[in-house]
């Protein structure tokens, strides 16, 4: 319990220091909002086919970037050492850092949806699945950001490392094109991407439609990705956090 409270303290401090800043909030909101509005202006009848994917993409880029930036920034400034010197279990540090990034992603995604609801009347057929997709996706992507950050020293190194992963999966995860329309040889790769399942959960939440027969498949898959990311993060932090 004591360690959980300390993880909460790390998260609150990070939100206060980094995530609550107006430029970050506007960046996280403005970019996807403008993108979705452009799609709406082009064709109001079809924008919903892509909007959930763009929210998922925002979650992916926002969470991985912020989690990685915060860690690499603190490593350079020496403040990350304060956490290592404190009586904190490694999983407390990981939880604290990942949770703050996840809260940021979740808050911006919900604010984005609210804005689109007010302006475009964007529907929400299944709020539970929508929020579950956001929470699981935000957790998974934040952990992936931490993984990249602990392997390198500089922010640009973390970004380069993550871009090798983030950009390719954008095109195979059903963000811009439904899974059923992807070329046959890409489809197996799509199922290896955590973004695929977040996109599908958000589609289910917003429109009630999905490429999967049941929501249990994407829910279980993204949960397994989250678990795997956590275990990998623990392993790598134990090995490399002190480097």
């Amino acid at each position: 319990m004591s360690q959980l409270r300390r993880a909460l303290a790390i998260s609150c401090k990070d939100i206060e220091s980094y995530y609550g800043k107006p430029p970050l909030i506007t960046w996280g909101l403005m970019f996807p909002a403008v993108l979705i509005l452009s799609l709406y202006v082009k064709d109001p009848a079809t924008y919903l086919a892509i909007a959930p994917g763009i929210i998922a993409m925002t979650l992916l880029f926002g969470n991985t970037s912020m989690a990685a930036i915060v860690i690499t920034f603190e490593k350079r400034a020496g403040t990350f050492q304060r956490l290592l010197l404190a009586p904190l279990a490694m999983r407390t540090i990981i939880l604290g850092k990942a949770a703050s990034a996840a809260v940021y992603g979740l808050a911006t995604a919900l604010a984005l949806w609210l804005g689109l609801k007010l302006v475009l009347g964007m529907p929400l057929v299944s709020p539970l699945l929508f929020v579950a997709g956001l929470i699981l996706g935000a957790g998974c992507f934040s952990l992936l950001g931490l993984l990249a950050a602990v392997m390198v020293r500089e922010v640009f190194e973390a970004m380069t490392l993550m871009n090798f992963f983030r950009f390719p999966i954008l095109f195979i995860s059903g963000v811009f094109m439904p899974l059923s329309q992807l070329p046959a040889w890409i489809k197996p790769l799509a199922f290896l991407s955590p973004l695929t399942y977040v996109v599908e959960l958000l589609h289910l939440g917003v429109t009630g439609r999905s490429e999967f027969a049941t929501p249990i498949v994407p829910l279980l898959a993204i949960f397994l990705f989250l678990l795997a990311s956590w275990l990998l993060a623990e392993l790598l932090f134990r090995r490399r956090a002190y480097a």
């Binding site: 300390r6 303290a9 220091s17 904190l88």
Partner: protein, 338 residues
């Protein structure tokens, strides 16, 4: 006298700082070794630190001081040896040990965007202090370190000296049994350094064991009860400053001031009785084989160079002289006196 916040002053001025009576040793290190590839950073280092003492850990750059502190504070794994701090091994029980340690790194590394008060309160949160306790503690420490009027100032906006003070304050938030101070006065001006030294004495007087690393040998001599000199990863000497000075009592030292600049190489060539010449605060610290012969040769040298000898003093070897002697010998003759 500065009052240490939140604690009772020890009733025994002779041996202050007794907190736990289970053991008189706070830190016990035995056979500590660490290699970085082929580089041997620490080799069979053994020492112990008594409860309530100020222990200075000295050595030239690259001697292994920081490696030792990183191992003791749980930031680095050792290759061999045993480390026991407050009754536990930091490798096997890091949370227990870290709860009892306060570490002041060589660089002041608090959060620049947070205010002084928020930095201290956040440290209190990380060490599990309840809200009321950490708020009170932050206020006490700000007052103790004369930072109350800067409570709302971001850490990043403080001067170097004030940053150092707050970094030390942050290490004391949880009232640690042992405080590691890595170069606490490095880069500070004279008044700030003096104030900090007084604060370190006060912290120690009120109970904390202080493990101090510093390049300032006068500071180590003035503050510490015992000193360890580490050279090339090995213990070269361990004892009280007086005991270590005893090692170089055979040295004959002269401080000589010339009326104008001279060249050390020429001096050593002309004066065979002078073994070593080191510039020191506008004068020259000379290690000589035989004082009378050296004096005669120096007078002749000054005449030849067209300079006057403005001042000449015989010197008792200091801890710095002992340190230099050990560095010159490469720590080849380890001597542990206590």
């Amino acid at each position: 006298m500065i009052t240490w916040p939140g604690k009772e002053v020890s009733p025994s001025p002779g041996f202050p700082g007794v907190r736990r009576m289970e053991s008189t040793l706070t830190i016990e290190v035995s056979g500590l070794s660490k290699n970085y590839g082929a580089l041997e950073a620490l080799s069979e280092v053994s020492f112990s630190v008594r409860r309530g003492e100020i222990f200075a850990y000295l050595g030239p750059n690259g001697a292994g001081k920081t490696t030792t502190i990183r191992i003791l504070s749980g930031l680095l794994k050792r290759d061999a040896g045993e480390v026991n701090i407050c009754g536990a091994d930091v490798a096997s029980d890091p949370v227990f040990v870290k709860e009892r340690l306060g570490v002041v790194p060589d660089e002041s590394n608090l959060y620049p965007e947070l205010t002084c008060r928020r930095n201290l309160e956040y440290m209190g949160e990380l060490y599990g202090l309840p809200r009321a306790r950490r708020c009170l503690r932050a206020a006490e420490l700000l007052s103790f370190f004369a930072l109350t009027d800067r409570a709302a100032t971001p850490f990043g906006a403080l001067s170097k000296g004030l940053k150092r003070r707050l970094t030390i304050a942050a290490a004391l938030v949880h009232d640690p049994e042992v405080v590691f101070l890595d170069e606490p006065t490095s880069g500070l001006d004279v008044p700030s350094a003096r104030t900090l030294r007084e604060l370190i004495r006060t912290i120690n007087r009120q109970g904390a064991t202080v493990f101090l690393t510093t390049h300032n040998l006068q500071e180590a001599e003035a503050l510490s009860q015992r000193v360890l000199i580490l050279i090339k990863g090995r213990v070269a000497a361990l004892g009280t400053p007086g005991e270590i000075r005893q090692r170089v009592q055979h040295l004959k030292l002269l401080d000589v001031t010339f009326s104008a600049g001279i060249e050390a190489d020429k001096l050593l060539k002309v004066c065979p009785a002078v073994i070593r010449a080191l510039p020191q605060n506008g004068a020259w610290r000379l290690e000589v084989a035989e004082a009378q012969a050296a004096l005669e040769q120096l007078v002749a040298f000054a005449g030849g160079e067209g300079v006057r000898i403005s001042e000449i003093n015989t010197i008792t070897a200091s801890l710095e002289d002992a340190f230099m002697s050990l560095v010159k010998d490469g720590g080849a003759q380890p001597e542990v006196t206590s």
